[in-house]
Amino acid sequence: MTSAARDDGRGFALGEADLSSFDRQYRARCRVQRPDRYRLLEALPRDVPRIARGSGISYVAASFGAGAVSQSLAAFNRILAFDERDGRLCVEAGARIGDVQRFALSRGWYLAVAPGHPAATIGGCIAADVHGKNPARDGTFRAVVEHLELLTADGTSRVASTAENPDLFAATFAGFGLTGIVTRAVLRLARPPASLVVRRVPVSNLAEGARALREASNAPVLYGWHDGRARHFGRGVIRVGLASDAADPRSFDVPPAAHDLPARIDPLPFALWNRAGIGLSNTLLGARWRRPGQSPLPLAAALFPLNDARTYFAGFGNAGMAEAQWLVPHARFDDFAGALAEHVARESPRIALIASKLFAGEPDGFAFDGVGIALAIQIPAPAESRQRAFLEALAGIAIAHGGRANLIKESTLDGATARRAITGFDAARERLAAFNPDGLHGSELARRLAL
């Protein structure tokens, strides 16, 4: 293919690169195309497998692998139109969330649903149907997209919205790039709160945390942090970000792009997150965060919490990390949390972080949504047998309690487990396949889960 493609002359922008998932659990040497014009985006020979690539910060290998050419959308990062009256923003798919938020906030608007990593692209947010600071209040990313344009497998450019090509529109969210290359989208922005204060609600376990989350369901920012150590399992704090009418001019001071968490973080030569490191870190964080009370929360800190996490991610070292996200229905959450606590007490896995969030949506396709409490659990060195066994046990406990997995987060999940972890897996798979009949769009994630 390479020589044939290059017959078109220089400027085809095709090269090779070593790519890695953000969690460092999958690496591959891949062909990468870096088009900077629309016709180059369309120039790959018709039969060449491909997958869109944004910033490449997916925890799993969603934008490369399986012999596909990764088509970088980095050059398609422009803000194309903005209606200041109603907050509609037209943007190319390679635009980064951090840049979009900076643009919007400077004009008195913001994107209410956004992931914590500022390098995430709009196309990536659509492909993963990410959630933001309080999915129970704001929904997932599909809630802020009015319509989108994508290059589909038949080589045509299509517009999709709830009114036009609605099936394509629905399948593209949490479609992991398999319905085509999203090129641009129109987003609905919201007015940000004048300022935020964060109320800290200490909790002694996960069930108590879930109750605190439910009681604050309408807060613009709502999440929990929990200790994952066996002796203190689930102890933590629920952070409730509340809108305040007191105007704080510094609230909209968003750091420049140079302060953004980079897409690629070089690991430290040693792992910080051994038992001693995790213990020290959790003790310090607990002492700092578990004090009841409230304090001002700059909007930038709320929108980009990962900007301060560079050392945290580097600290996983070369062995990397894994994240498991499970959404468990309210009715079964306390039992789930109890079973998980028992398992952790028995096996004592190393858990670097547990975060909790409240969800109140309707799951569609592979989307990570539903009505319940979601836990994100990050562990170091998932290739180690004890750590791997914990992830497997966690999946078993979660599935037994009606849990739903976030496929875009966990790189160790196998296809069979994913089938049990997603109600309607086969229907969702068939819907994707209808827009990708020859498997033109593919990735390691799609291969691993047989999507």
Binding site: R6, D7, G9, R10, G11, F12, A13, L14, G15, E16, V32, R34, P35, D36, R37, Y38, R39, L40, A75, F76, R78, I79, L80, A81, F82, E92, F103
Partner: protein, 248 residues
């Protein structure tokens, strides 16, 4: 919208250095006429620059390889825009098979884009630029330092642009027209992505900042990045028998 700012014309504005120049000029508040072959790219670029910088832009989709009189089309597209102060021509087409094996059509295509178009555009816009004491910016290439068995036609056209630069400078004094020419080294664009380059590739945005920053400077011809002047000197000084043995 800063609609009264002087207009700059960027030929080949949709990618690489052309896009970087357009972005830098917009940042400085210039109105822009953007010229490239695909309207989709031009519309996206123009829209983004208008949103980000509040400038006026106009797009002209033009295939320089087929257009008989690109200068006339560009001149016509200027109607209604503020006076032209700068014409930048970061254009150049190269081919893998430009190695003394091209047929006449292939040679003609490269000549059309790399030489006929700059000549025709400069000729057509000269009266406006001279009247406004404007600046013409030509872009050569280190490929033209010394003839090789590759990039044969491409390097010939870039060498010819040096002659155009000299003609313009001979004809017009700097107080009438500024003429600037940059001999560009490798740049990190889609042209070089995936290629193994013997020397580092420059960021087009850094090059654009230098070029736009010097628009009001005097006429001159220089290498960018500047260290390429040293490389060029070395290449020119190589004894012919040794140069002949080098991989082309």
């Amino acid at each position: 919208m800063r609609g009264d700012a002087a207009t700059a014309i960027v030929i080949g504005a949709s990618s690489g250095l052309g896009r970087a120049l357009a972005e830098e000029l917009a940042r400085k508040g210039h109105s822009l006429l953007l010229v490239a072959s695909d309207r989709r790219d031009l519309d996206a670029l123009g829209a983004s620059l208008e949103v980000a910088h509040g400038i006026a832009t106009r797009a002209l989709a033009l295939d320089l390889g087929r257009e008989a009189d690109p200068g006339a089309r560009i001149a016509a597209a200027l109607d209604g825009l503020s006076p032209v102060k700068a014409l930048l021509l970061p254009i150049g087409q190269s081919r893998e098979d430009d190695d003394l094996s091209l047929d006449a059509a292939g040679i003609g295509q490269l000549l059309a884009v790399n030489l006929h178009a700059p000549l025709a555009i400069v000729h057509a816009l000269l009266p406006r630029l001279v009247g406004a004491r404007g600046t013409i910016v030509l872009f050569g290439s280190v490929a033209a330092i010394r003839g090789r068995g590759r990039n044969v036609v491409y390097a010939s056209t870039k060498r010819a642009l040096v002659s155009l630069y000299e003609s313009l400078r001979q004809r017009y004094r700097p107080r009438e027209l500024r003429v600037q020419m940059y001999e560009l080294g490798f740049m990190a664009t889609n042209l070089t992505y995936g290629m193994k380059l013997p020397l580092p590739a420059a960021d087009p945005r850094a090059i654009a900042r230098i070029v736009v920053g010097r628009l009001d400077g005097g006429s001159s011809r220089r290498y960018l990045p500047r260290w390429w002047a040293f490389v060029a000197l070395l290449v020119r000084c190589l004894p012919w028998p040794l140069y002949r043995r080098m991989k082309s």
